[in-house]
């Protein structure tokens, strides 16, 4: 069993892991990038549609193009890359972080490092998570799995498809399936508004004349061997109105019902997970409850644009560099909490007087909303946000000058929407 020492290890080589590793390498530190897949780029490699990179590269790219640009830099930076390598265990003891990983060629590797970046991304919620009743035939896929089968492997998972959930991957797949000759019969969304971003509703459903049923659920899946039909039921006043149910014959059901940050490894190292995001609780330096363990990208909270992932992760890499240089001081941090109409805010702490980027998600839908940043009962800053909706993450920067120090310990900051 070999043992390897690094100053930092990044787990996961998707957009988040690559961006963080790059920044750490630029800081002059020895960093290893570990991923269980056989390629850099993570899930981007199966996202062959465009719309990536508008903010980060100022250019419209496909997923693989976006990944390739980052990957080229990662390779050029001389970062040690471990592909096909699964991290199986993670522990922290006396400040040393130990990862047990494994691959076919080198066997088991023990990595020791001063800092670790969690960048494992997320997984898709599945049928069991949302409890769709009915039988369990073949032909039920998560949207991401279907995407992989079509875009990477070249197979058609189904011919007549009903998509449950209007998340972005589901919408993208509605279009993709139409292109490969499948008939998408319905997209069924439990909420009264779409879960995906507007661009995808227009380009993937409207343009293909695919009906979207809002405030509807799939109340039953039928089929013995393969899916044969689903029953769709409208919600009235929040409860299913079974008398108005209708049935659609289909051979495939796709699920696009949300993503869950993949934090099983984080939990092994004792990292505290927030109930609001499903990701680790992080301070102003994106450091988790375990000292020297950082988190960025979808493992921290689910993003809708990879550009924001890259931005957040680059900053995370910068904090790791500060940490390795012993430049993360003892400065006091104040709590950040989600106020009215806000589901969550990341990070969960801030440092007064310093520029801070906040990511948050709304609970409400509003054409023109106002962000209220409150402290000690007073609104210290207001910001207008267009097209507020739960599907679109709000990402903004607060200037340090707008966050002056308070007397004594930093006062808690509350971010609300109205």
């Amino acid at each position: 069993m070999r043992e390897l020492e690094y100053e930092a290890i990044v787990i996961g080589a998707g957009a988040a892991g690559m961006a963080a590793a790059l920044r750490i390498a630029e800081g002059g530190f020895r960093v290893a990038l570990v991923d269980r897949e056989d390629h850099l780029g993570g899930i981007l490699m199966q996202c062959i549609h465009n719309g990536f990179g508008l903010h980060w590269f100022k250019q419209e790219l496909t997923g693989p193009e976006f990944a390739e640009r980052l990957a080229e830099k990662v390779v050029a930076a001389g970062i040690d890359i471990f592909l096909n390598t699964t991290v199986m265990d993670f522990s922290v003891s006396n400040g040393v972080k130990t990862l047990i990983a494994c691959n076919s060629e080198q066997g088991v590797i023990q990595f020791n490092a001063r800092a670790v970046v969690l960048a494992m991304g997320c997984r898709e919620r599945n049928r069991g998570n949302i409890g769709i009743p009915g039988t369990r035939p073949a032909g039920i896929f998560t949207a991401g799995l279907a995407q992989r089968l079509i875009n990477v492997d070249g197979y058609v998972p189904g011919k007549r498809v009903v998509i449950i959930g209007s998340g972005d991957i589901g919408l993208i797949m509605a279009r993709r399936l139409s292109w490969v000759g499948a008939k998408v019969l319905a997209v069924v969304e439990i909420l009264p508004h779409p879960s995906g971003i507007t661009r995808n509703i227009v380009q993937c459903l409207h343009d293909f004349n695919i009906p979207l049923y809002l405030s509807h659920i799939v109340s039953r899946i039928e089929g013995k061997d393969r899916v044969e039909a689903v029953t769709i039921t409208p919600l009235e006043g929040g409860t299913p109105e079974h008398s108005k149910s209708f049935r659609i014959e289909c051979d495939t059901v796709l699920l696009s019902v949300g993503l869950i940050p993949e934090n099983e490894l984080s939990k092994k190292a004792g990292v505290t997970i927030g109930h609001d995001t499903g990701g680790p609780k992080v301070d102003a330096h994106l450091m988790t409850s375990a000292e020297g363990v950082f988190a960025c990208g979808n493992v921290l909270h689910v993003h809708d644009l990879v550009d924001f992932v890259a931005d957040e992760s680059t900053r995370c890499g910068g904090y790791v560099v500060d940490y390795l240089r012993d430049q993360i001081g003892e400065e006091k941090q104040g709590a950040v909490t989600a106020g009215a109409n806000v589901r969550y805010v990341v990070p969960h702490r801030y440092v007064p007087g310093r520029d801070t980027h906040f990511s948050l998600r709304s609970i409400i839908v509003k054409d023109r909303g106002t962000l209220l940043i409150k402290r000690q009962g007073a609104v210290i800053k207001k910001k207008t946000v267009q097209h507020v909706k739960p599907a679109e993450m709000i990402y903004f920067k607060m200037r340090g000058s707008d966050l002056p120090a308070t007397e004594g310990d930093p006062a808690p900051l509350e971010i609300a929407l109205e």
Binding site: G107, R123, R136, P137, A138, K159, W179, L205, D225, T252
Partner: protein, 498 residues
Amino acid sequence: MKKDVFDVAIIGAGAVGASILRRLSAYDLKLALLEKCTDVCFGVSKANSGIIHAGFHHPVTSLKARLEIRGNLMFDQLQHELGFPFKRVGIIVAAFSYEEMKTVEQLYEQGVANGVPLIEVCGRERLLMLEPKLNPDTVGGLYAPTGGIIEPYRYVFALVESAKQNGAEVKTDFEVVSAKHNDNVYTITSSRKEKIQARHVINSAGLFADEVSAIFGGEVFTITPRKGEEYLLERNAAGFPNHVIFPVPSRVSKGILVIPTVEGTMMVGPTAIEVNDKDDSETSSDNLDKVFAQAMYMIPVISKREIITSFAGSRATMPGNDFYIGISKSAPHFIQVAGIQSPGLTASPAIGEYVKDLLKQDGLRLTEKTDYEPFIPHETCVRELSPAALDEKVKEDPLYGHMVCRCESVSEAEIVEAIRKGHTTLDGIKFYTRAGMGRCQGGFCSYRVMKIIARETGRPIEEITKRGGGSRLLLGKIPVESGARPSPKPKKKSVKYA
């Protein structure tokens, strides 16, 4: 021709059929196990709760109680020989009223009469000490430390593997549709027109035992499916108990249980609802609510948020509420092993023993094999290895270093091994290796498993199924042109917001 005649053909490869097969494989006999599904343990046994009952639920006069107690005691030796996951975690019956405590007393008396070892009636304090997550409103209950948990499919796979190693033949996709008895030999025909011959036939066809009996001219009876829905919760679930927790039973069922599975996930269920369709494996939202209401009454910290999947299967019930095991009076050399519902899994090794004796009574000559091998090779499970041991394994076979299923840590080597053992469907691989059984439910690994099946079996990937028959997973290949040059043809710009 005579050489090809099987001494015994067993119909149905569930826990019962597999136990009988494995027991008989210790003798010089030519044996066949016939199964209508694509793999063994694909019927109701795969939806079994996996409880090894202690033996206090049934009256001493019943055959059930006798075989249950005997079967329970056989599991340590079986696990030693076959290596399937099994733990005697103990069973607790929790009472929430003094009325229920009276039933607990009766269960205790019954258990003592049946010979259940170490059984005890507990007061509230003792029960809460044993099971701190229990609702503190409990007034006491029963504790039976010999109760246990098992992975039902791993048990059946191991039994079948052991029997095969000792010369038994297993024929899957063999649905018995007709049988003729001539010259003391049955000729049995499958739906695919395959024929085999056998001198003795055992009907352990579970839900379909009534239909199989009719095919052979055996007794007329009716199997009524009684469906049970179960919910599986993720590893490290908040409500994971120390013991299997039972409510005080009703007349028809043992109630909704909270089960700490051997592999670390947690299960709640099953319901007990009589249905008409033997293949009915639907789950419903009403029952989900009922199951959780009852489970959470016993252990309040159980959370629906931790559900990873649900499933259902039906118990094969018969009037009379006892097992129906005996030599047929109307069909020659035909043994009925029917109505084996709970505690069928617990009783299964004892049923194997019992049926062996019935065969002897029916004139079958039993000669012990001199080269009978009770042990099967222990399968390597990467998730059970220490880092150093895994490192050694990877040197032996690099495929142990390639994780296919991240949630349950299943390596490519384990998948390949399962395929070589004949499990060539996605579900077969899942039940054998646990790949796809974890929190993501195959979201990340199923395409990898499909590719490995295709590679190892040499079959096109489009032919790979979930569980045989018409359960194909992919419905086509993308023509090169359409994949290369997608051309959207937007129709009129309207959308239906229903």
